[in-house]
């Protein structure tokens, strides 16, 4: 019952937070010079002041700020994020169109980073002075310090131009024929480089943390007990110690949602990946206000939901978490 109460309080907090995001974004767009009427007139190839006034009246842009804000919040509550005059499509459908590509990229990168990060961290924790351990330290430093778009371009030069293993850009090759598997394979080939690029940032974080917590856990009493009662070292590490070393890594991963969105914008731009990141970039350059607002709102939603899910995942992995709060 307590759990349920805690969850509902979190949901209420989340809703208030989202509302605040909405208000801030809308106010910011309102303060900026230029408005939707300018965007529309641009796409018509210019319009005189009278036409601009007509457009403003039609879209309620001549109303006081609070009225406009109220209307916008009201529409968002009905899952209507407005209409993009730049793409001639509703913003909701625009976002939903681009979402699968971004989800594929982001999720695969996170999974690879988590799995590889934990494995590298555990192996190097077992041999703190081994070659692999130094490699992990070095790689963590690289992941921290290298700009992600540069990493992407380096991979592109190496594995796409010098050694043509993977395609240069995009997500699909239109010339590929065949059934489901041919297309899936084609997408997978396009996915490899952007996915590795995005994963590189997080792999560094996760492997370093996994190494540190694993070393701490391996020094604790219950691990010594497990060793003393004669368990195989491998079982001690992977069955007993790993469980406790995981929860800091999951916590850290849960804090990365905002960083993931930022990384996705850059990586998608480098590889022309047709996802939300490129959409965000294009709409910002084109000053397509409804789309920008929609994407900002949607990413905040993703971050908030992501944080709640992380919390739930932590409760599953570590029963102590629920009790403490």
């Amino acid at each position: 019952m307590d759990q349920l109460k805690a969850l509902s309080i979190r949901l209420i907090h989340a809703a208030i937070l989202l509302l605040a995001v909405l208000v801030l974004n809308f106010s910011m767009m309102h303060m900026a010079p230029g408005d939707v009427a300018d965007t529309i007139s641009q796409s018509m190839g210019g319009a005189d002041e009278a036409v601009l006034e007509r457009i403003r009246a039609d879209y309620g842009l001549d109303q006081p700020f609070l009225v406009q804000l109220g209307r916008y919040v009201g529409r968002v509550l009905q899952f209507d994020l407005g209409y993009s005059f730049f793409y001639n499509q509703s913003v909701t459908s625009l976002i939903l169109d681009r979402l699968p590509a971004t989800l594929l990229l982001v999720l695969s990168a996170q999974i690879v980073a988590l799995l590889l990060g934990v494995v590298l961290g555990v192996i190097s924790a077992r041999r703190p002075n081994g070659i692999l351990s130094h490699f992990v330290t070095f790689f963590a430093l690289f992941g921290y310090s290298a700009p992600v778009f540069w990493t992407g371009i380096l991979l592109l030069i190496a594995f796409s131009l010098k050694i043509p293993l993977f395609p240069v850009a995009g997500m699909q090759d239109v010339t590929v024929e065949g059934g489901f598997f041919a297309h899936a394979l084609d997408i997978a080939r396009h996915l490899v480089l952007p996915m590795l690029t995005l994963a590189s940032i997080f792999l560094a974080l996760y492997s370093r943390l996994a190494r540190a917590t694993m070393m701490e856990v391996l020094g604790s009493d219950y691990v010594r007990t497990a060793k003393a009662k004669g368990l195989r070292p491998r079982d001690v590490v992977y069955k007993h110690a790993l469980k406790n070393a995981l929860s800091p890594v999951i916590t850290l991963a849960g804090l990365q949602f905002s960083a993931v969105v930022s990384g996705a914008v850059l990586v998608e731009t480098v590889f022309s990946w047709p996802g939300l990141g490129t959409l965000a970039f294009q709409s910002i350059i084109a000053r397509d206000t409804p789309t920008i607002l929609g994407i900002l709102f949607f990413s905040a939603l993703v971050v908030i939901v992501g944080n709640i899910l992380t919390d739930l995942a932590l409760r599953l992995v570590d029963p102590r978490v629920g009790g403490r709060r």
Binding site: L17, P33, L154, S299
Partner: protein
Amino acid sequence: MSDTPALPEIPVEKARSPLAEAWEMFRRNHAAVAALVVLVLIVLGAIFGPPLYGTDPFDMVWAPFSPPGADGFLLGTDYLGRDLLALILSGARVSLLIGLAAAFVSVFIGVTVGALAGFYRGFVEEALMRVTEFFQVLPTLLFSMVIVALFGASLPMITFAIGVVSWTAVARITRGEFLRIRELEYVTASRASGASNLKLMFRVILPNALPPIIVQSALMVGGAILFEAGLSFLGLTDPNVVSWGQIIGSNRTYILESPFTVTIPGLAIFITVLAISLVGDGLNDALNPKLRQR
């Protein structure tokens, strides 16, 4: 007549300043010392490089895509035939300047918010931590892109756009330190002797809260440089100045013709940020000896 017996030699222990002690600890971290040397060289290059080298980074001096070393240009030329070395030296100024300024902005906001929240507790803390949470939820890069695109890509605006989204970590650290220190006896003592809240906050507590804040600030400079590089890579930068990210962004369509125009500026960013984070590591050893983790 007899000589007075020689006084026994008492070894004099010189009292050492905290700064000297910190330097002693810092010096033991060889990687940090090497990184500090590299960093000093980069800063010197940024300050004195452009006037000494002389070539205007916007001048088209040669045919485009000349590889490094050939034709008398140490780093070659870019897609417009501009001298890449001149671009790198000039870009160093912008990248370092924005990195420092944006880190300063975010440390200023973060320390203020964290200090107020940790000192006053109660309603103030609740409200400020909600604001912090709010800024943690914002997708940082997207938000800064929007600010720069809407309100103009001037250097102060870019600095503001980076600083305003990156202060949450500093606020959390500062608040944590304030919560810990405000309960200590010497704070109670100066409160009892009539110190005002402002004095307690900034003269009594803040100096003792500084070590972790300084380490975090050092790391933030690196983060801000990466952030600025990302923005200018996307073209969201002042077109009248050169920055490292912008060189990469404008040359990236020509990696077939000349990969160097992309790899070299990236290497400059990488080395600078790496040096800063190694120095930050050293500062951590020097200032938080108890918190050392390995």
